[in-house]
Structures are given as C-alpha cells and as structure tokens.
Symmetry: C2
Subunit: 620 residues, 2 copies
C-alpha cells in the first residue's frame, strides 16, 4: 500500500491552528484522537478525522500536529500498517516500547514555552482530558478546548453523519423489555442515591432501548444520547428515525403505559442544551452519573458538585452479563456461524489447488456463506484473511495491493465474525492446506496449549480476567516466545464485537470480575514478522464450575466454548500436548461434530458435514 | 489470647479529640495508621500507637476512632488474630471482602455533616493523605493535620525512641562502597534533571550508607533521614551514634576524600527545618525527588513546583537488584540457615514423641540453632511456629496462652528466618511427624504444585511479578481452593525481610518488572480455619533462563531457589504430580543434599546430615 500524501493537508491544518477564523487564539499543537463523540472504537466515515489527516486507518491511534512536527501514536498491532500508510511528514510513535515518549512527554519536549495545545472537547474523553491537561500544566503549557473541529474545517468532501433505519428487537431476542431494563437501572441509581444518568456510549443506548441501527459499519448502533432520570427518560436521536410506526409502538411514544416510562424525544444535537437545562434544575444533593470515558464537552456541563464520574456504567455491566435469552441467542448464532465457516474450509480445500483463491476472495466467500444463515445482518468486523507474512500483521485487512493467493505452502489465518439478530460471533482459525513445517506446528501447538489453559481454567468467583492472561502465555514463554496483545475481550450480543468491562489482558487492571453469563474471547497467538501469524480464537461463556471443594463458599467459574469450529489437527504436534490437553481437544471436537453436525444435517449441507466428520477425528 | 480492654483509653482519646489543649479545634474522627514517620512495616515499640489503642498487634492495620465508633481495618492474614485481640468496643473491618466499606466510605457513612477528621501528618503517607483528603472533601468533610499525636498524649509509659549502636559494613558484604552508591544515584538524578532527593525509608538509608543498626526488632535499620544533593550529602541521625571511630572513619567524617562526598551530619529531629532551608534556597527549575509513600508532613515542606513525587525511589530499585557480592552473601546465609533448620527438624523428630515440645520451645530451638551459625545477628521476623488450627492463622505468633504442644497427630507449620551479616532468610516448611490425612496431603500437594509452577516459570524480561501470581493458584483453583494472601515479596540483603518494588501478588499492579538479581519469596499456602495451615516458602533469585527461541531478543528469566531445605515427602501425594513436577522435586532435593550436606560435613553436624540424606531420597 502507498502512503497518503499529507503535505498540503498539514499546511492547511497549521494555517487553521494560527487562524483567528477557526479559533479564539493561535494554538501550537492540535491533538486528533481517533474516536467520535461517543468514544466508539469503530467509527463512521464522517468521524475518521485521524485517518483523514495522516492516512493510517487502524482502529486505535492518536495524531498530534505542531508547527514543526506531526506524530502518530499507536500500539503493537499496528506498527507495520501505520508505517506503510503514512508519508514521511509523520513520525510513528510505537506505544509500549520503552524508548517511546508518551504524548504528554513528547509535547513537552517539542513545544516552545507557554504553548497552547488544542483538542476538540467532543472527541476527547474526560479522563484523558484530565491527565493531558495536568501533565501540560505542570510543564507550563495549557490544554484548550477548540469548539470548531479544525479537521472538519479543512475536510472538503467530509461525508454526512449516517442516519440509518432503526430496528426494534422483541423479547424473543432480548429477554427483557426496555421498560424492565430502565426499572432495573433505576434500582441501581436509587441504591447509590443517583438522580440522573447521562448515557453516551452507543452500544449502551442500543442495549437499553432494545433498538439497533447501522450507523457504524460492523456495529449495529445508531447515533444517540440518553439522559435517564428517576422518573423521566430523555432520548436524543434524529426525529426522522421516529416516524416508523414499529419504532413508535416499540417505544410507546403515542401511548405510554406509565408516566415514568414515557420516552421524551429530542434532536440528537440538543443534548448539550438539554443537559444544561437539567443541570440548572438540580437540587443541591442531586448526583448525576457519567462515565469518565464520556466526552469532555458533555462531562463539563455537569457541575463538579453534582458529577459522579464512574469508570464504567451500570449499563455496561448489565449488558456484559447475558440473560438466558441472550445466551441462547449467542449459542444459536455461533452454531450457524460454525456451519458457514466449516463450509468455507471445505470449499477452500477444493479450490486452493487451482491457484485462484486470494485473501480477498476467501473473505468474500466467508461473507457469502455467512449471509446464507438465518437472521444474518452483516459482518461484526473487517475480516482478517491473511496468508504467510500477512498473518504477522495482527490487525491485517486484505487490500488489492497486498492481496496474496492462498497456496499449499503457506499458513492461512482467518479472523472473522458476523452479526446475526440473535448474536455476534468472532472466531479465528489458523490452517495449512499443504504440509506445515515442524516449526509452524510447534508454535501452533504452544498457542493451542495457551488457548486450552484459559478455556479449561477453573477460578474462584470474583476473579478478574487479567489474572488469567498468563495462563495463555506459559507454554510460549517456556520456549522464549510471546505475543504482544491481550488474550481476550468482552463480546456483545448482536452488539459491538468488543465491549467492556471484562476481558483477559495483562494490560487491563480496571476490568470487572468475571461472572457467570459474561462472554469473552480466548485468543492467544504467535506472530513471526515477515513469515507467518498464528491465532486461535473461540468466544467462550463464563459458567459455574463444579469443584471437589468449595473454599469459603465462594463458588468457582470456568468457560464453555460457544465457538464450535474444528482446530486443524494437521497443525498440532501432539507430542507436545499432555493427556489432559489431548482429552480437551477430543472433547471439543466431539462437541463440534454433535452440535454443528446436527445443524448441517438439518440444513442439508452434505459436503461440509463430510469435512466436519473428517476434521473431528479424535487424537489417539 | 484475651482482648485488650480499651474502654478507658477510648474515653481519654475522645476527650483529647475534643480538647483545645491538644488541638486547635475539635475533630470528629481520628485516624491511627500503623506506620512510623518512615512508613516502616515493622516498627519500634514507641511507634506502636495503633496496637496501644486497640490491642491488635499485627503488621498491617489502621484504626479509626469517632465519637461513637471505633473500627480497625486489616487484611485476610489477620482476621482471626484481630478479632481475638480487640474488645467489643472495636469493629473489625475485613479488607478484601466485597461487603467491607473502605475507610473513606465508612467515615462518610458515620460522620455528621462537615466533620473534621484528624491524623498525625508524620505517620500518614503523602499518597494516602491525598486520597483520603479528596474522598472526605467530596462528601463535605475535611482531613486535618494534628501536629501533636493524640495517642502519645494519652500514652503514659510510652517507650523512648531507640538509639542503638551502628555497624559499618565493608565491601566484603556490600560489593559497593557508599561513595559508589551515591555516585550512581547522582547519575540517575542527573538523567532526570533532579537536584535533590529526600530519603525517608530506613532501609534505603541503611543500604545507601552501608550502615546497619538495630532500632527496630528484626530489621537492621536505624532512625535517620538523608537529603542527597548533586554535590552535598546531609545525614540526619542522633549525634551520639557518630562518636564511634569506626563509624567516623567509614563515613570519612574527619577526612573526606572529596568535597562532594562529604557527609554533613545533623540531628535526626532537624530534618524538617533543614529541608525547609534547602527548599528556600532552590533555583526556579530545581526539582526534588520524594517518594509518594514518604510522610505527608515532610512532603508538604517541598513546594509543589519543585516536588517530583515518585511511587518508588531509585534507591529502592537499586537495592532490589542485588550485586554479585550480595547474591553470594545471600547464598551463604541460606546455606547456613538450611543447616540450622534441618537440625531443628531432626531434633523435633526425636523430641516430639516425648510430648514436651511446644510451639514456643520449637521456635526457641530454631533460634538457638540459627544463632550457632556464623555472622548470625538475629531473627528477621517473629517466628511463626504453629500446630494444627493455629497454622490457619496466617501471621500467627505463639504466645503462652495459645501455645500448643507438637504431636504426632497434627500438621506443624514453621515460617522463620534470620539476619546474618551476609544475608537475610525467610523460609516456611509444613510437616507432619505422624501420618498426615489424605486430605492434608492432597492440599499440601496442590500448594507444592503452585510453588513449583512459580519457581520453574520461564517468562520474558520485563514481566512484572503480579503476572505470575495465578500460576501459584491454578492447582488449588482446580479443586475449588485458594489462599487469601499474595504469593511473594522482595527480600533485602541483611535488610528488611519485606522490601519493594517487586513481588508476586494479585494485588500489586504497581510492582516493577522482575530483573536478574532480584530476590523474592515464593510462598503459596492453604488454610482451613480451625484445623490446619499449609505454606511452602522458598526465597528465590531471579536469573536469566535459557530458552529454545528468543522472541524479539527480549531474553527470558526464571528463578533459582536460594532456600535449600527438604520438602517433606510424607506430605506429598505423588500421584497428583506430573513427571515434570516429580523431576523438579528430585532435582531440588539433590541440590539440597549436595550443598547443605557439604556444609553439614564441614560443620561436623552428623545427625542433621543423616536426617538430610533420608529426607532427600528421590521420588520414584
């Protein structure tokens, strides 16, 4: 891929930084975070400001432009990609390496004395604003809110904000009405003496109201805010979306059942003024919840005395613990998804020898097969379909200029998933269609051992996911190997494929304890730059574990795999597995055969079934 | 043990809280932390204010007294002990349990509006002050510094501050002169553009100046402060201690070799005024290091603009990474210590059947045997010598009223260690002199598996110790068991038996990465209230590990046990061990036999050698 040429854009941006038309007084640096006003991970095209200015389109990264410099911070997943997408006006700041300065330290090192650093307060989180502001102040600089976004000012053909059709999800999918969810939320608010809660995360709003949209690719959300009071509900969303009678009925807009369950609708843009009005009418003891990851702009509307900033919201936690209906839906979605993926592998085996399958065509085929499954909505993230050296680019996405042909000689890694109305999937398999080398098998087997160590782990109730991260690495570490990403993330139910507040990572100490009903991924890997990548990912459900003893009646938990796609036996060096690990693989494959086999029969997918039977033979 | 009766003391304290003689204005609550002005873990009798007021004498805990309430916070190690030592005027607040309020939340829940909460600013750390003050302010209360300590005001026979003789350690023990240490420290200060460093931790001062004292039982430290500048050295210590010609010569007080290595001595108490004087003379850009765990009183002397608060000091890190001389000394100390402990076990086997050995006499015997070893100075902490149910009290210390007799029917746990001039030891063994039950063996074996999993772990350079904690628990977790303490702590070299900044704990996320040369303990356990306790502790040295591969040239680390005392085979259910674990035990015992056996022969300790030979037979 060739880098984006940014000379002219940087010139224009620097002019805007000095220009009285855009800002009250000149700034010496401008920060361009990657998020939108809801701190979404995936964002709509109109919000891709960081990509617009520097060319790098990965999911995480922050750009900073000063009069003399332009630098981009991103993490280990994206070092290679960012270096290829940016021209030499940009310096790549590799986060996580010891020698890399933080954004604050870098700014302090390059800025003249008493500089002003600008940022759009809508797209910086309140906690980030606080840290950045403190660091800059301590060095004599200041962080200033620039209300008009300077990138928007120079972005001529900036796309419009999407405004897609909403769909209402019934009880069959959600298990709980939105009214019940509001009532439960108000219970939590009452417990903590909270009178208002400002909801800014798009997936929390979608989950709370049992609504979905398609404003952001891969994430079935829609642009909205909500302010929930003890007896009122304010929803901020474009009024055109509320014309649909199905939506009006779902929200009971025309005939509310109870006064305190009446949804008041406001335009999306009026959240600022309406929040101001709510704050003006607060009683002295009223407290208002807002997530500390909400935008600085909205957070600062709430007077400090009334503001109760929380690291994650009660909706985030309630959404993470799936109810029985959601669990059933996630299971169904994973069964359908496995049928499609097994079909893909059976098809690839036949087609690859012809030399016509590429990373892109394989990804397209995967999407086509998934789209044949019931309640398919779309993909849950861009498919990572990668051959040989491309597999070492952790968040690779095949493009025409990087597209490799699948062959009998190279490892193939496919990390893909879909949105179904009943659930969200995310699965990675690494396979070889010819004969893998001993070294590839050895590395694969260490990754498999790590995957099993997490999946089969038994741990006390109340354990945080980060305490399990090292289990996934122990076999790799023993041989001097490792991988530079976390082991797992929360997964939404027909919602975002990445969600908090739980996960499995050495980096996350603010994660919430795992509870039965939570759903996370288990995805250790190993990557050898320039040669191959290995990752093995299942989505797993936290379930109670039966143990011989029960210390202090705490109870124990373990994981149940929801993903049921065979692990390629050809890639395993079975000599490196313990008997327990071999049993795990055999049990897992038996379950794949039983569950997915039955669904394939039901769907009459004979070829895939033959493939599944062959791929789930027990290790002896 | 019977609880301390505190009715009258609490009455007096509450009077002092209201009384204009002691304080400027009445306070509604008074916090009594457990530390001294140096935030020491072990403290001198004159500093045992928290024990004085509530009776609980464990190493960690904070008491808070209000007009109506008196409450003590401590952790899982001390729940039982605290409940036994405190009368019913006190509420035990069990830290780590979900339902237990934090000190801040508790204060907010019990205090009348606009309350003042007092604390002695010398014995609360600056970071704790900040957190507490913030939490109280947000609820309309305030934290106030009470200069005259209110406990001292009601403590009639409070002991005097100790002032023991100093000893100077030569290069043979330290490996580096104090001048070299100062020079290295100044190098770190220059790197970070720091002009002054206020040293408040007693072990850091002792390590820096190659001096030891015995002001605090078990910890070979002395009351002092130091302020190190780029070209000056200020030591605050009682002048009587500097009369000794050996000390004068060691510090070159009468004939300094260089002006910038001249030690200026000041009285201990003058640190406040002298720091004030240094601060008054600071240039605008001068920065001063102080640990954020230093006292609030001293920290607040430094104007904010000049203060660079650090979570741990460069001395703390330099001290943690032992040099070759220190490592050699630690090895020697552990060999001598193992000889004494093996002798103890051989003696116990003979004596226990007579029915005359108690927890106290066994502990005394252990001390006697250790004291016969070369360069013995004293114990490194109070010996935990515990039989049967007493073993479940994690930091048990036998007292006449709790003293049990060792028998052939109960598990015996002894956690003990000593200070030698060449090193500090800390070792726990759990043994049975009759026939352990299957359940005791099963639990012991899980603990052993956890111990081995940490000891044999291989991990990348740069890994923090907390990432290894779960390895120690996996086998217990599998059976629904666990233990409520961390797995390991840093160990000083002829210094404090607990030191930072490294460790192995699920609780510690601020730990520094493990490096070759660091020394930590590896001590998983299992405790069954009312019946028995199991712990298995070795002190281990971080060493480079040879691995098959070397990902990104990071290099790998592992542990080498310094403790070389047999693990009782009788307690092991070998069926539960893997072949790798059996090999580990056999290798370990071979090393015990070779190394400790040779020393026993040299010392002519025949009976102990016979015991050692028998106890190190390989598992087949």
């Amino acid at each position: 891929m060739s880098p984006k040429i940014t000379v002219e854009l940087l010139r224009q941006l620097r002019q805007a930084m000095r220009n009285g038309k855009c800002i009250a007084e000149p700034i010496q640096a401008y920060i361009i975070p990657s998020g939108d006003a809801h701190q979404s991970e995936y964002i709509a095209p109109c919000d891709c400001r960081r990509e617009f200015i520097c060319g790098f389109n990965g999911s995480a990264g922050t750009a900073i432009v000063t009069e003399q410099h332009a630098a981009l911070w991103t993490d280990g997943r994206y070092f290679l990609q960012a270096s290829q997408q940016m021209d030499n006006n940009w310096t790549l700041m590799k986060m996580g390496l010891k020698e890399t300065l933080s954004q604050e330290d870098w700014l302090i090192s390059v800025l003249p004395e008493n500089s002003k650093v600008g940022v759009d307060p809508w797209i910086i989180a309140a906690d980030q604003w606080k840290n950045m502001s403190k660091a800059l102040s301590s060095a004599g600089h200041s962080l200033v809110a620039v209300q008009a976004n300077l990138i928007d000012a120079i972005w001529e053909d900036r796309p419009a904000r999407p405004n897609t059709k909403l769909i209402a999800l019934g009880l069959k999918y959600t298990g709980l009405t939105w009214q019940d969810k509001i009532t439960a939320l108000r219970g939590k608010m009452a417990e903590r003496k909270i009178s208002w809660f400002v909801v800014t995360a798009l997936d929390e709003i979608a989950w709370l109201f049992n609504l979905r949209g398609s404003d952001i690719e891969y994430n079935p959300v829609f642009f909205a805010y909500a302010i929930i009071g003890i007896s009122s509900i304010k929803l901020f969303v474009d009024s055109k979306r509320l014309v649909d009678p199905a939506i009006r009925q779902h929200l009971e807009l025309d005939s509310p059942s109870k006064p305190d369950l009446t949804v008041q609708c406001f335009p999306y843009e009026s959240v600022f003024s309406e929040l101001n009005a709510v704050c003006a009418a607060l009683a002295p003891k009223d407290k208002m919840w807002i997530c500390d990851k909400a935008s600085c702009a909205l957070t600062q509307v709430i007077p400090k005395a009334h503001r109760a900033a929380i690291p994650y919201t009660p909706l985030c936690l309630a959404k993470a613990v799936k109810n029985p209906t959601e669990i059933q839906g996630m299971k169904m979605a994973h069964i359908k998804d496995a049928v499609a993926l097994c079909e893909l592998f059976a098809w690839l085996e036949k087609e690859i020898p012809k030399g016509t399958v590429t990373e892109i065509s394989a990804a397209d085929k995967a999407e086509e097969l998934r789209s044949q499954q019931k309640d398919f909505v779309g993909l849950s993230f861009p498919t990572i379909s990668s051959v040989g050296p491309n597999g070492a680019i952790i968040h690779y996405r095949p493009l025409p200029e990087t597209n490799r042909t699948l062959s009998l000689n190279e490892v193939y890694l496919i990390d893909s998933g879909a949105q179904y109305r009943d659930g969200t999937t995310d699965v990675t398999r690494t396979v070889h269609f010819g004969t893998p080398s001993d070294y590839e098998k050895e590395c694969f087997t260490y990754v498999l051992k790590g995957h099993i160590a997490v999946s089969a782990a038994v741990f006390p109730n109340g354990t945080k996911g980060h305490l399990l991260d090292s289990f996934a690495r122990a076999a790799l570490w023993d041989s001097g190997l490792d991988y530079l990403h976390g082991t797992g993330h929360g997964v939404g139910c027909f919602l975002n494929v990445h969600e908090g507040p739980c996960g499995i990572s050495y980096k996350t100490f603010a994660d919430e304890p795992l509870e039965a009903g939570m759903i996370v991924s288990d995805e250790p890997g190993y990557y050898e730059d320039g040669s191959f990548g290995i990752r093995l990912e299942n989505v797993v459900l936290v379930v109670p574990a039966k143990t011989k003893y029960n210390y202090r009646n705490r109870g124990s938990l373990t994981f149940e795999p929801l993903t049921l796609v065979p692990i390629q036996l050809k890639m395993i060096n079975t000599d490196l597995l313990t008997q327990k690990e071999r049993d795990w693989v055999n049990d897992y494959h038996r379950k794949c055969l039983e569950t997915i086999g039955a669904e394939m029969e039901r769907q009459g997918r004979k070829e895939a079934l033959d493939w599944l039977i062959r791929e789930t033979q027990p290790i002896v």
